[in-house]
Amino acid sequence: MQLDFGKNYFDLFGLAPSFQLDTPALEQHYREIQLQVHPDKFVHAADADRRLSMQWATYVNEAYQALKHPLSRARYLLQINGVDTEEERNTAMPAEFLMQQMQWREAIGEAETASDIDALERLAANLRAESRGLQARLADALDVDKDYTAAAGSVRMMKFLEKLGEEINRVLDTLET
């Protein structure tokens, strides 16, 4: 590949690098680019075209996935600004947040024991609201204040919330089986 405009994912889709994103534009540009590069368009092409098509379509999918989800988009914005989110190592969290985490975990555990699907779905809804709050903070930190340290902290918190969401889904899966 020799794409210069592909040096970052935002350029690829012709979008400004910001956390607040014109999602319909992202989706539309994604589809239009895939219409150009997808392997289905190159079934009868020469080997070189087929290989390139797969590389391109793979790259476009990767870029789209990274920008589509708020957590990965924030992580990517920090990455292109040279900031490591230290999700594996940095576990320092505000005490209040950690307290809340424990309460969430307990609530999930109780709902599991009681096989209470409704309670789990309420928890999932609360979690989504919490996550929206973090997204608003991320938008401020990344797009307005350029406070990347604060943003990295929010990313780490969001990662926690994502794990909680996965845990709720896992319990829902087992309860429904």
Binding site: M1, Q2, L3, F5, L12, F13, G14, E27, Q28, H29, R31, E32, I33, Q34, L35, Q36, V37, H38, P39, D40, K41, V43, H44, A45, A46, D47, A48, D49, L52, S53, M54, W56, A57, T58, N61, E62, Y64, Q65, N169, L172, D173, E176, T177
Partner: protein
Amino acid sequence: MALLQIAEPGMGANPHQHRLAVGIDLGTTNSLVATVRSGLSVVLNDEAGRALLPSVVRYVAEGAHEVGYPAQALQSKDPHNTVVSVKRFMGRGLKDIANAGETPYRFVDALGMVQLRTVAGVKSPVEISAEILRELRGRAEQALDGDLVGAVITVPAYFDDAQRQATKDAARLAGLNILRLLNEPTAAAVAYGLDNGSEGVFAVYDLGGGTFDISILRLQRGVFEVLATNGDSALGGDDFDQRIFCWILEQAKLPPLGPHDSRLLLTKAREAKEALTEHPQANITAMLTSGAALDLTLDGKIFAEITQGLVNKTLQPTRKALRDAGLSVEDVKGVVMVGGATRMPHIQRAVAEFFHTEPLNNLDPDKVVALGAAIQANVLAGNRGGDDWLLLDVIPLSLGIETMGGLVEKIVPRNSTIPVGRAQEFTTFKDGQTAMGFHVVQGERELVSDCRSLARFELRGIPPMVAGAARIRVTFQVDADGLLNVMAREKSTGTETSVVVKPSYGLSDDEVTAMLQDSQNHAHDDMTARALRENLVEAERLLEATLSALAEDGEQLLTPEERAAIDAHIEALRGVLPRNDAQEIRQAMDALNRETEFFAARRMDANVRNVLTGHRLTELEEN
């Protein structure tokens, strides 16, 4: 430069000629073939006017066999040699097959995939499936009066890599050029969506003879984007027959039955199930080999009761798929029903209740998959009408690598849009370790033993270092057919190894070639002549593709020198064609391919750039 081109007689160089392509629904119970004719997708019938080909193969002595209705008619008489529902065995070991003891087959537990002992010898599910595909290929070539350019073959969305690879091997064995493996629900969505011009989120509920799939798709401006898929590759209409069969045994207090009686009662069970679609009750009468007569009545209510568990088993994956898509029932605009088993009234009711909407049934649930596959085949073959829409599908099950302690490190999560590539770094466990073994698995569980093993391979020649110092990058690449390729690379030395994942279950190219040579139908087929024919066709295609690329973009993207170099290779390839030497043609093709590589890259860049420039212009105009 603009010389008129004249094709040699019989070379068929007209680029706008309609290319014959088909869609094949290789089903558990029935198979179909369809094509697009005069812009309409139609199922091709057999000489007796029947659309369905029962997926039944009967082997008779001396290596002969029959496929479809004649085989089905004799399944009770000759149960050992008559294979039904072979799709259930594709890419499966003996331990994976539920109710293996209740089937009349003589299984041979071969490495990887189970095999069946018949009067014509031991047959693999791949060979048996190839017989069905060959029959459909023959039907299509006769109906369309020509050779097929290729076929799209459908697979259950929930098929894993081994099952997909087995399907692809069967197609190759049947002499079919596979344009794409397409997920059945996606094919149905294409047939449905294009017919109805729909937009929005749809669910495709696909209960076939032996597999269940649920897919959640978004249809928007000609793009079919699969958001999530789930299912059960061992649950289908057959299981409903099995429940009725058990009910019969219970009601009539029958002792364990021999293969003839088992087959007979399973057939009666299926007939009763089908009768209950139209009638409130069904009579089940049979004469057993012991002379005992059977006379029972099954009504819809009892049928619904004894199969309630199976219906619920389809709703669990449905919930999971919705959850993975991040959607709820209210977001789903319509539910497309696919597969003959969805005709059962209590399935219709359960789905309507779950989604709070009446399911869509305006396309024949037996035909809709084949019709959609034909539409996609037509587009992939390069016939008109394909420029404005696209399928974006996903992998159904996560792919990963075994790590210490028998745990799975997921590399590509399920429901990733394909093609997808992911890389992960691993390191050595011991000082001085020079080789590393990789075990590739597929599935959602955390323990390797709960996932499907796809392949094992080794990376050797790692320079001796202290434990944890080596950096080994493992790259997974899943192509547009949903098939996986894995590569491992040690970063400091560049030591590299790669596998197309198939050793555990798939066939090697040599095995396929050997099978092709063995196969009776191809005994007369000279392999050299075949290779030449294939290379000639491919060379034509390459010339055509290159010339059209040059016509479109040669002027803008190439210097006169670059253009001259490519033209020289085109002439060289044209020059060797009349010599009819497969190898020479291959070499000239490879040389042309190499010469045009940078041109291809520039074109791809230019295309993407044009999309974006188009936007900037419209956005400027709007402002």
